[in-house]
């Protein structure tokens, strides 16, 4: 009987402490943009890091780290929002008020505009918001996003297309509410 065996592959596992140090702010803001209330951010961030710690040995180091981390935040935010006590009425938007006024192309980005962008994000459905954040804000490819969120590639493309529309419509509504042109 042959007892030859292949040498075990050298495990390459990211250091949890390093991930915490370098990615805490990232996950904090992701959770916030996924709708976690300010008062619950610490608990949710801790919860996400606990899950990251548990799954770290399974992480494939050749994959990009942030989409992987994002998936934990996404699922945590989904569960969080599923709890009735965390549901938030988005009364900030008047859906019936649509505004098709075009934007000026050349404008400096003001603080108000950035706040408007954050507000528009908060109006979006979570699954589309997640795709939009990963692609437009973080610059990940759609296949990467599909992989990290465990959704079919076509679904990811579809969500991205709908997310762009939804986001732009939300911006228009918010601008109309503010009386901006």
């Amino acid at each position: 009987m042959s007892l030859k065996r292949e040498p075990p592959p050298t495990p390459v596992v990211p250091d949890f402490r390093e991930i915490f140090e370098t990615q805490f702010s990232y996950l904090w803001h992701v959770l916030k943009r996924l709708g976690v209330a300010e008062r619950d951010l610490e608990d949710l961030t801790q919860q996400v890091f606990m899950q990251v710690h548990g799954q770290l040995p399974k992480f494939v180091s050749t994959r990009p780290l942030r989409p992987w981390l994002f998936s934990f935040a996404y699922h945590a935010a989904s569960n969080y929002r599923a709890l009735s006590r965390h549901r938030v009425e988005l009364s900030i938007v008047a859906p019936e008020q649509a505004d098709t006024t075009p934007f000026a192309d050349e404008q400096l980005i003001t603080r108000q505009e950035l706040e408007l962008a954050e507000l528009a994000l908060s109006c979006m459905a979570l699954e589309r918001r997640a795709v939009l954040l990963l692609h437009e804000v973080e610059g990940h490819s759609v296949p990467e996003i599909a992989d990290s969120l465990s959704i079919p590639l076509n679904t990811a493309y579809s969500r991205l297309r709908l997310a762009r529309q939804e986001y732009e419509q939300a911006v228009r509504r918010l601008r109309a509410q503010r009386g901006e042109s």
Partner: protein
């Protein structure tokens, strides 16, 4: 500016509140406490302790044991030697895979440096004979894997003493570890054990001095919150 351009300008956000980060870190360490070990240490320990079960299936029990023991020794020693050769300066073992104290102190994990020796004289010199597992580990070769096993076995004894509420014995074991492995890979854990043992013995001043050395040697230690928490406990 178009809406999507503004969205891209958001970026991934600035720094999160530092105090929130500190609190989350402390809570994480408290939760992970006794089970948090670095992935590298866990992987190393796993590779050194798991016998290749599938390979011995089908053999008689005696042969299987012999084969398993041989493979375990060869595989462990080879793996550790390769690991040590490839990463000679990067290995930092943090060994916290079980609770250490039955009292209020949580289990920390990392490694400190030179520590004041004032407490040496006060250490209980009377130790039980080394248990078989430690003697067995001591009899092994001086390969990195066997050295680590001996370190671990010794600290396991200290941990067991702590669980039985015998801080004097814990301190004696940690001093024994320091004498045998002055540059060991588990010195960080040893110091954490020693600091808590000193606190349990009411030797707070020594514990604080030793903790200061710990903080200097390991300013970013995973065990810092646990040690600080123990020091600040009434």
């Amino acid at each position: 500016m178009k809406p999507l351009e503004t969205l891209r300008a958001l970026g991934t956000g600035g720094d999160a509140p530092a105090d929130a980060k500190q609190r989350v870190y402390g809570a994480l360490m408290a939760s992970l406490g006794a089970t948090a070990a670095t992935a590298g240490a866990a992987a190393l320990a796993k590779s050194a302790t798991l016998p290749p079960a599938p390979l011995i299936a089908g053999l008689s029990s005696a042969k299987a044991l012999a084969v398993a023991a041989g493979i375990w020794l060869i595989g462990g020693a080879t793996g550790a030697a390769l690991y040590g050769a490839l990463h000679p300066q990067e290995v930092r073992v943090v060994y916290v895979d079980r609770p250490v104290f039955s009292n209020s102190v949580a289990a920390p994990v990392t490694a400190p440096a030179p520590v004041p020796s004032a407490s040496n004289a006060a250490v209980d010199p009377v130790l039980d004979p080394l248990p078989k597992r430690l003697a067995s580990a001591s009899a092994a070769s001086a390969s990195p894997a066997s050295v680590l096993s001996r370190e671990r076995a010794l600290l396991d004894l200290a941990r067991e003493s702590a669980a039985h509420g015998e801080p004097a014995l814990v301190l004696a074991r940690t001093e024994q570890h320091r004498a045998q492995f002055p540059r060991g890979k588990l010195t960080e854990e040893r110091e954490a054990l020693a600091i808590r043992a000193l606190l349990s013995l009411g030797r707070a001043a020594e514990a604080r001095t030793r903790a200061q050395a710990f903080h200097l040697a390991y300013p970013h230690s995973l065990l810092t919150p646990a040690i600080d928490s123990a020091l600040s406990a009434p």
